[in-house]
């Protein structure tokens, strides 16, 4: 829209067209030039430049074209910049059913609605007693206080597709507390619960179930809407239009490979000095782990107590045991006992408790696990060399230290250590659990406690086109979806944003509209369970 066009339009708005001009305007081709596919890269060829030029020219031509409307069809309105709204001066048209609002007894429009209607040729907006051109409309209405161009593009796109689009007002979403109250209500009437199925992903976590249930409550509270919605037999996800705009369902489970423990390993290995040092110390100590051992083994001797001469009446080692015990030396006994005869052991052997110990299944399992990794400590030759507890404990401590030392220093001595110590035995399932650094999360998990940044917010409520006939602005009912607008060049919403917005929206799914120079694609995020091998 060049400047001369604007002045022409200003002029013409008060002008009557001659019949020939009118005829020309009426018979003008209504075909919108095809945008076609984008080329992947600028190739620098003449052909590409020509095509681009032609496409641009068509575009400019279309935009600069004079819009001819019947004066009677135009609703007159005035722009009130202080309130950021457009007040209607003449009665509203059919659009009033789905757009606009009343304030101070006047019919008003939001700027984006006014702009859309201007583009459709339904509205003429005056500012300072002069009519605004469409270009001026873009300039005046779309500012930081009202709405960005991205938002308007999404708004216009959805409107043109026939959706009812209203601004999203967070205060009109029932709070968590209200939802909880409604939960109780819905419990009282269980019959209702089966009535509709949420398009929300199947509840797999507890939170989700609760959310789902609260959603029912919200629905029931707004009686009028429910009836409307119930009349609409179409399942929510059979809507073709939203689907066609390439929705890409993404799971919100980031893949564990993202954080690769190997990175730290590589980094450490790159530094030659640390590696060399670590290895040397490891080898020098590990090569001859017990420099003092040879000497030790020579003077192993026997433990302090010689249990071959100190005879305990041990019934356990039944095979090596004499059939009867010699009578003990009387000097070892209290005086009153005097001397006693030998003791026959055999009858006692038969009287020992050999019963199986009763154990619960869990205990049995634990026992079995332990037996698998557990051997007689005395089979170990080093343990056999120990003569007393001090030596034994030293050995254990040395071993645990060595176990730590055996581990490559460049891996274990840094601040970041590997997730799993291979010397520790654990079940495959446990291991899988251990190495999944980024835990899977449900969309609603912990969302209630998160705070959202101001950067991201839900902009629009979307109602399906086929509900337009019954749509009431006063009781809009549950939206089909809520829209959050992102720019293609801007940042991608993070998990926190996803969670907070999903929680804010409650049972209504949030769709992310990404605007890329006029191309709009829609994304939504769903809970997705990573398949898990239960056999672990």
């Amino acid at each position: 829209m060049a400047d001369q066009n604007k002045t022409a339009e200003v002029k013409s708005s008060n002008e009557l067209l001659s019949p020939s001009e009118l005829f020309e305007a009426r018979t003008r081709s209504h075909k919108i030039p095809v945008r076609g596919q984008k080329d992947f890269l600028p190739s620098g060829s003449d052909q590409q430049r020509e095509r681009l030029q032609q496409s641009l020219q068509e575009h400019w031509k279309l935009v600069s074209e004079e819009r001819v409307e019947r004066l009677g069809n135009l609703v007159k309105a005035v722009w009130i910049p202080s309130d950021q709204r457009v007040e209607l001066l003449s009665p509203a048209g059919k659009f009033w059913q789905t757009m606009g609002f009343s304030a101070h007894g006047k019919q008003c429009l939001h700027p984006e609605e006014a702009l859309y209607l201007m583009e459709c040729g339904n509205l003429q907006v005056f500012y300072k007693d002069l009519p605004l051109s469409i270009q001026e409309g873009y300039e005046t209405f779309l500012c930081s206080k009202t709405m960005s161009i991205h938002h308007y593009k999404v708004f216009g796109h959805l409107k043109r597709l026939g959706y009812v689009v209203t601004r999203f007002d967070p205060s009109r979403v029932p709070s968590q507390y209200e939802r909880q109250l409604n939960l109780a209500q819905s419990r009282e009437r269980p019959g209702r619960r089966l009535k509709r199925k949420r398009s929300l992903s199947p509840p797999s976590g507890h939170t989700e179930t609760q959310e789902g249930a609260t959603a029912m409550g919200t629905e029931e509270e707004r009686d009028g809407n429910r009836e409307e919605e119930d009349m609409n037999p179409m399942p929510e996800d059979t809507n073709p239009k939203l689907k066609d705009t390439n929705p890409k369902p993404e799971n919100i489970h980031p893949k564990p490979e993202d954080t690769n423990p190997d990175d730290t390993q590589m980094a450490a290995q790159d530094d030659p000095s640390t590696t060399a040092e670590g290895c040397r110390s490891w080898w020098s100590k590990g090569g001859s782990p017990h420099p003092d051992l040879p000497g030790q083994s020579q003077n192993t001797g026997s433990p302090r107590w010689d249990f071959t001469s100190i005879s305990f009446p041990d019934l356990g080692s039944r095979h090596q045991h004499p059939r009867s015990l010699a009578s003990p030396d009387p000097c070892l006994l209290p005086g009153a006992v005097g001397s006693v005869g030998p003791c026959d052991v055999v009858p006692w052997l038969n009287r020992l408790n050999l019963r199986e110990v009763r154990m619960s299944r869990r205990e049995q399992e634990r026992e079995r696990d332990r037996d698998r990794y557990h051997r007689d400590v005395n089979l170990d030759r080093e343990v056999q060399r120990c003569r007393n507890w001090t030596e034994y404990r030293d050995l254990l401590e040395r071993r645990s230290r060595r176990r730590h030392r055996d581990r490559p220093a460049h891996l274990w001595e840094g601040e970041v250590t590997p997730l799993h110590d291979p010397s520790q035995v654990c079940l495959t399932g446990e291991l899988m659990d251990k190495i999944s650094v980024v835990k899977s999360t449900q969309l609603f998990e912990g969302a209630s406690s998160l705070k959202c940044s101001n950067e991201w917010r839900i902009s629009f409520n979307i109602y399906q086109p086929d509900t337009v006939a019954e749509f009431k602005k006063s009781t809009p009912g549950k939206p089909y979806s809520r829209m959050c607008v992102c720019s293609f060049s801007g940042p991608v919403p993070d998990l926190q944003t996803l969670k907070v917005l999903a929680f804010q929206s409650g049972d209504v799914p949030v769709t992310y509209a990404v605007e890329d120079h006029g191309d709009i694609s829609f994304y939504c995020f769903k809970n997705f369970q990573i398949p898990k091998d239960e056999s672990f």
Partner: protein, 433 residues
């Protein structure tokens, strides 16, 4: 007792009644008279001729010993004797079939070790007695301690059985230096025992604390051995609780390691014997001993009554006759009440990086309230929130007045309380008698 086969059952000497209204029993060499006392009854025992002992403590001739309701007694003689019983017994019979000779041989071996320790200027044997419930662990301990004391040794009893403590009130772990054989009627003469607060009658409620207190006792005992030669040579005998599976078994192994035991006596269970042989180093002698046929299984009620009796004994003395406890008010503001170990909470609710273990040894302040009534509280020696201090005494809360912020306590000593740190037990005592 059907299994007792060939023994002569009771009444063999009944005809020869001693003329004092009792039943006379003539015991042969190495036999024992077992009797149980009915509820609400009393039985008097008198040694007429010969020598006899009860759990290692010798009987005086012509002295009347009285046993209260629920007592289960075995009078053993090495050389033969005659005794008379008067009063109503539930059962009374003579049995030839006792493992006393095995126990005596065990004692002889331990005494041999003490001699060697004395000679080599080393420490004496440390013995752990293990086994399932109701196999006579405490009795064997008492027997071995009594024999040792009768030979002039000064062994130490380490009582780790939190359910049925022979030394202090239940719910505690203690060590006691034995200087004379246990009294035939009263048991050990308890003078200056070292008592630690555990707080519950089952080690399973807080196995971490149980193991920590075991280590604590072991440390204190080792320190004592360093300064007291006699105690060092005497060694110790550790009585454990009858939980021998899972964590209970781990606690046994931990105890063996903490005390550096030399001998483990396993009573009755071959399975436990094999396991301990496998898990303890070779220089620890693990010995399997049979249980006595006279050992009776105690019911839950019976155990509870025994616990109650033990607490009553703490406050009122033996047979509620010798002590006169005081009752007085304690203001909430004057004391600090703690519980050891926060209740376990799911890991997901813990702060990041904190594990469940950290909470089990923690002192958690308890707000005084009505639910404190009848609980036994330990008066900790700790001055200001320090951990791992022994207990200097016990009180029972008999009444709580939340309005006046005051509780009435039963205390063995008059006011004021010696210390202000109180540890609450799960155990309750209702002062009825």
């Amino acid at each position: 007792m059907a299994a007792e086969g060939p023994e002569k059952t009771a009444e063999e000497g009944a005809g020869a009644g001693a003329g004092n209204g009792g039943t006379r029993y003539d015991l042969e060499k190495e036999t024992e008279l077992r009797f149980e006392v009915d509820a609400g009854e009393k039985v008097q025992l008198e040694l007429l001729t010969g020598l006899a002992e009860i759990f290692g403590s010798e009987l005086n001739r012509n002295k009347k010993y009285t046993f209260g309701p629920g007592s289960k007694v075995a009078v053993f003689t090495w050389q033969g004797c005659s005794v008379s019983l008067s009063g109503k017994t539930e059962v009374a019979y003579v049995s030839k079939d006792t493992p006393m000779l095995l126990y005596l041989n065990t004692h002889a071996a331990l005494e041999q070790m003490r001699r060697q320790a004395e000679r080599d200027n080393e420490r004496g044997p440390r013995v752990m007695v293990a086994g399932p419930t109701d196999v006579g662990k405490s009795t064997v301990c008492r027997l071995l301690l009594s024999y040792a004391v009768r030979l002039g040794r000064r062994p130490t009893l380490v009582e780790l059985d939190v359910g049925q403590s022979g030394v202090s009130v239940p719910g505690t772990m203690s060590a006691l230096c034995i200087e004379r054989p246990a009294d035939v009627e009263e048991g050990y003469s308890v003078q200056a025992p070292l008592v630690y607060h555990f707080g519950s009658t089952s080690p399973g409620t807080n196995i971490k604390l149980y193991n920590k207190l075991t280590s604590c006792l072991a440390d204190v005992f080792s320190q004592r051995c360093e300064v007291n030669r006699k105690a060092s040579v005497g060694g110790c005998i550790i009585n454990t609780c009858g939980w021998v599976k899972g964590s209970g078994y781990q606690a046994l192994v931990h105890c063996a390691s903490a005390f550096e035991v030399d001998v483990v006596l396993v009573l009755d269970q071959e399975r436990l014997y094999n396991e301990l042989k496998r898990d303890l180093p070779h220089f620890v002698r693990v010995v399997l001993l049979p249980k006595s046929g006279g050992v009776v299984e105690r019911s839950k009620d019976c155990r509870r009554e025994a616990r109650d009796e033990k607490i009553r004994e703490y406050f009122y003395g033996f047979r509620s006759a010798s002590f006169f406890p005081h009752a007085f008010d304690v203001r909430f503001s004057d004391v600090r009440i703690y519980k050891i170990g926060a209740p376990s909470i799911p890991d997901s609710c813990l702060p990041l990086g904190m594990s469940q273990d950290d909470t089990q040894l923690k002192l958690v302040p308890v707000t005084p309230g009505r639910d404190l009534t009848h609980h036994v509280l330990s008066v900790s020696c700790a001055d200001e929130g320090e951990e791992g201090s022994p207990v200097c005494g016990f009180i029972v809360v008999t009444n709580v007045d939340t309005q006046a912020q005051v509780m009435t306590v039963l205390s063995p000593a008059p006011r004021p309380l010696p210390r202000h740190t109180l540890l609450i037990m799960d155990i309750r005592f209702i002062d009825l008698k």
